[in-house]
Structure formats: C-alpha cells, structure tokens
Symmetry: C2
Subunit: 315 residues, 2 copies
C-alpha cells in the first residue's frame, strides 16, 4: 500500500488515470478503504452526465460507444467509459476489428476506459457501478458512458444509474419485437437503430415509432426518440449526440434529472447497506449465521421466512 | 379473504390447482400471510426435481418446455412450470402457434403452469421464485420447469435455483460464441441445440463441445452434455430427458445435489432477509429512512457508505 486514500482521491481530482483506476479497483475488490474513499468523494459528486448504452449482442454497442467518444471528444469533453458488457471489447471479449477501433482512444488522456465485473456481487451492478461513477465524477469527466448487454436485471440497473439510456437495435434481428416483450421500451430514452445502411432499417424505425406511440407511456413528459446511425462510419452520430443533448436539457428543465439523481442515491445506499449485511452474515466460523440458518432450512427444521427474520433481527 | 392459510396449504398438498395458484399469488404480492404460508410449508420441501430452461429469444424455449412436459407426462410425472420469461407464451407473450401447442397441457390436471413477474423486486427472481418452488414442492410435483430468458442476472439466479440447468441454443444465430462470452457455459449442465434440422446444427454442436473441452471446468465432476433436439416435432426429446435423468443420478451420487439445495436455501433466506429490510427502510412517512438518507447523499451532505452503515445499524 504505497499511497493513502487522500492522495489517491487528490490524484483523481486532478484526472490522473492511474489513481482513478486504482480507486475503482479498490471499490470492485471491496477493499477496507472503501468507506474512506466514499467519505472523501462525497462532496464532489453530481456533475457528470451519465449515459447508459444497452442492447443485444451484435447490435454494435461497442462501435457506437467508440463513435460517441469521438463525437464528444471533438467538442472538448472529457469522457469516461464503464463497460459492464461481457461481450464488449472494452471489457476484454474483443474481435480484432473492434480492438483496432478502440486503439485511437486508448492513448487519449481525455478518455478513461474501464471494464467492470458484471457478476458475482449480490445485487449485480448496483453495488459497485454507482461508486465507480462517483470516482469518475470526482475526476471531472463531463460524460460517462456505461455500456452493458442484454435483457435482464443488469440492464434495468444500468437504466436506473443513467441520466439518459440509449437502447440499441439493428435491422432484421427481430430485435424490436423482442425488445417490446422484454420491456426494453420502458427503459429507453433514445432508441438507436444502428447499422442503418442494412436492409430493413426503415421498417425497424417504423415499428419502434409505432410501439412508442401505442405504448403505455403515461404522461412522462419525454417521448422517446428514434435515431438511425451507422456507427462504423460515424453516420448519424452527430444527430444522436444532439438528441442526447435535448434529453439532457429536458432533464434539467423538468426536474426529472433531479428525481433520477435522488433515485440513484437511494439505490446506491440500499445496495451498499445490503452488501454490508451480506458480509456480516457470512462472517465468522463455519460459514457464519447465514450458512447455519440455511442448514436448518434445507433440513426442513426451520422455515425460510422465520430464518430471515432471525437474521435481520440478529444483525 | 374466504379461506385461511392452513386450508390453502392443505389444498396445495392435495394438488388443488386453485389453491396452488392462490398461494403463489400471495407470495408474488408479498401478502401478510407469507410468513404463515412458509411456516406451514417448511417441513414438506425438497422432493421436486427443479429444471431451469434458459436461452436467447427465438431458440425455442417454450416449444422445448412443452415437449418436456409431454415427455414427462408420458411416464406419469406431475409437472409444474414457472415461466419467468417475458417472451414466453406461458407468461403471456405468445405467438398463435405457440399458444396452440400449449393448449393440450392447459386442461391436463397433472400439469400446473404459472407465469411469474421477472421485474420490480429487489433481488429479481430470487425473492419469490424459491418460495413458489416450495408451494409446488408441497403439492408433490415430480418435476418443476423454470423457464427464463436472456443473458444476465436473472439467468444466473435461475441456475442457482435449479437442480439441472438447460441452456438452449439454435443453429446459425451466432449464439454459441456469444454464449461463451456471456458466461453461459458456466451455468449449463446440459446444452440443447434446438431446431437441429436447420443448417449449421452440427457445427454449433461441435463448437459447443470444443468450448466445453477447452473451458475452465475445474474438476467439477460433471462434464456438460450437448443434445440435439427438434422440439416442434419431439425429435431428440427422449434423449434430452435421459440426459436430465443422468444428471439427476449424478447429483444424488456425488453429493452435489445436497450442496445445491443448501446453496438454494442460503440464497432464499438472504433474499427474504433483504426484502424484509427493504420494507422496513421504506416504511413510515416521507418515504422512510432510506429516502431521507438518499436526500442527504444526493445533496452531498453525507457519503453513501456512511448512510448505508447508519441504515444497517438503525434497522
């Protein structure tokens, strides 16, 4: 342990990549210094615009992320990226072509890219992503992109953590219909039909617009937009950034941005509380109180609800 | 409230569909009777074989589920189904063809089919699925099929709840490669290449077998199997059931079945404990203690870790 928390936090404030990376690693590992890190970061949060990027594998999330980085850099923003997508080249699962596209950003001091583990934590992303966001916020990134994958809990969690959520689709994958079923319509602020030079792009756009129009969007004040891009060539990316800006302006005017930040804080505090309890319940010899309770339940000597109440009241 | 818990539980023991359905609804709704239900069910658990069925949209999960029901019914088993897949016809998002295939089972007294909400609960599936499983267990179903979708937390949770996890793929969807990336290889006990009459089935099988052989499967005692099916015609379904039986025998001999049940009890107790705390933290005026803490954190007056600790120690 060469450097203490205060030094690392000061380094992050100055935008030093190594210190930022080190702090996020400590958070991911659940290091004993995490409470001190959070304390030192508390007063500096709330400035970065957080953009969630989600969609099925193959729709071009990483290429779109790379294109957004370029577009945001071009207007002078500093950009942080958290990749919680296991198929993302940012987090290691790259095809060669994707890796090459990333290279230009890897050496840019105004860009910080970090992959996050998407599994293994109680509560999934929710326990560590918001804390990693705080670090990037303290490091004064203007925009943070969170890239994640798929249909499921992690995606909903990312939407909860983001100011603006982009849902990516590609033509002809049958995605739009599946998306509706899976409830993706409810989480998207902007729908991006990527690979729009492919056949079927217009009908995917039409289908999405119909679903948005028909969908159950009780007066939420923001009608989700549909944008076409070809992220690999950069086509449509400027329009996408303008749409994100529009949404950002709406968040500020409507007060919804404030609401989202409050909800985010609530989720973060709750996820941390659950993580603290998880450690307590597993601490001690013989697997801890949780393991003992589980053995009684598995043997049919105790019902799970009574076991849970005992755990809560003993904790 | 026409009937009390003891009467409903007695009805479930006798396999009365309406009572089973009513108990599961009460669990899903978090009814005040849940602790009493769990108490009454405690001693009767642990007999049903639980089979998780997962895979991307379009691979034929529902058709496979229907084919498995038929196969298991043919040998006299009573079969329960929990559909937590938002795109499943069991849970409502059916195409007409799928619905027709379901009809034969809808009127069979030896089959109970139930859709479960996959969202909105803290902890996702984990809070209610194991409790619903207890109800089906008490109702003496021999096998319970849990159908879920996608890549993400909910899938991992289903694998944690199941004795045997089937991962479904279809040829030519690029699924096998994505599966490996997304960590699906780690959760599958049996890989089912469905729609095996389509081009590319054999290469998907080969690819899977290679990945399993190369994969990091540290002496876990069970080498995942790969089975080809055409669920829509029933082809390969008997072989799939035999493979499931093999896995079941291995679970019993190796002691792994006991380990999985213990782990399941642990997850269940913890999820219930978290749900109890969640309700306490949200109770009271003005959003409860959690909301108050979140407001302090959002304003930068309190760091999230300190807020979480206060929540835990005050609960």
């Amino acid at each position: 342990m060469a450097r203490d928390v205060a030094t690392l936090v000061a380094g992050a404030h100055e935008g030093r990549t190594r210190d930022i990376a080190r702090l996020i690693s400590m958070i991911e590992d659940g290091a004993p210094e995490v409470p001190a890190i959070m304390r030192d970061l508390a007063a500096t949060s709330g400035h970065a615009q957080v953009i969630g990027i989600t969609g099925s594998p193959g729709v071009g999330k990483s290429t779109t992320t790379a294109a957004l980085i370029s577009g945001l850099r071009a207007r002078g923003e500093r950009v942080g990226v958290l990749a919680v997508d296991p198929s993302s080249p940012f987090s290691g699962g790259a095809l060669l072509g994707d890796r090459i596209r990333m290279q230009e950003h890897a050496t840019d001091a105004g860009v910080f890219i970090r992959s996050m583990a998407s599994r293994g934590h109680l509560g999934g992303l929710s326990a560590t992503t918001p804390q990693a966001l705080r670090v990037l916020d303290a490091a004064a990134f203007d925009t943070v992109l969170i890239e994640t994958v798929g249909v499921g809990q992690s995606e909903v969690e990312v939407a909860a953590a983001a100011d603006t959520t982009l849902v990516l689709l590609a033509p002809g994958m049958g995605d739009s219909i599946q998306a509706a079923k899976a409830g993706i319509l409810e989480i998207g602020d902007v729908f991006v039909v990527n690979k729009a030079d492919r056949e079927g792009a217009d009908s995917t756009v039409r289908e999405l617009r119909n679903m948005i129009a028909l969908g159950d969007h009780p007066d939420r004040g923001w009608q989700p937009r549909v944008v076409k891009t070809v992220a690999s060539t950069g086509e449509g990316v400027d329009a996408l950034i303008s749409t994100i800006d529009e949404h950002r302006a709406w968040l500020a005017e409507s007060g919804e941005g404030e609401q989202r930040r409050l909800r985010r804080a609530r989720d973060e505090v709750e996820a941390l509380a659950v993580a603290i309890l998880h450690r307590r319940w597993e601490a001690g010899t013989d697997g801890g109180v949780l393991e003992k309770a589980a053995r009684e339940v598995a043997a049919g000597r105790l019902d799970p609800h009574a076991a849970a109440e005992a755990l809560v009241d003993g904790s």
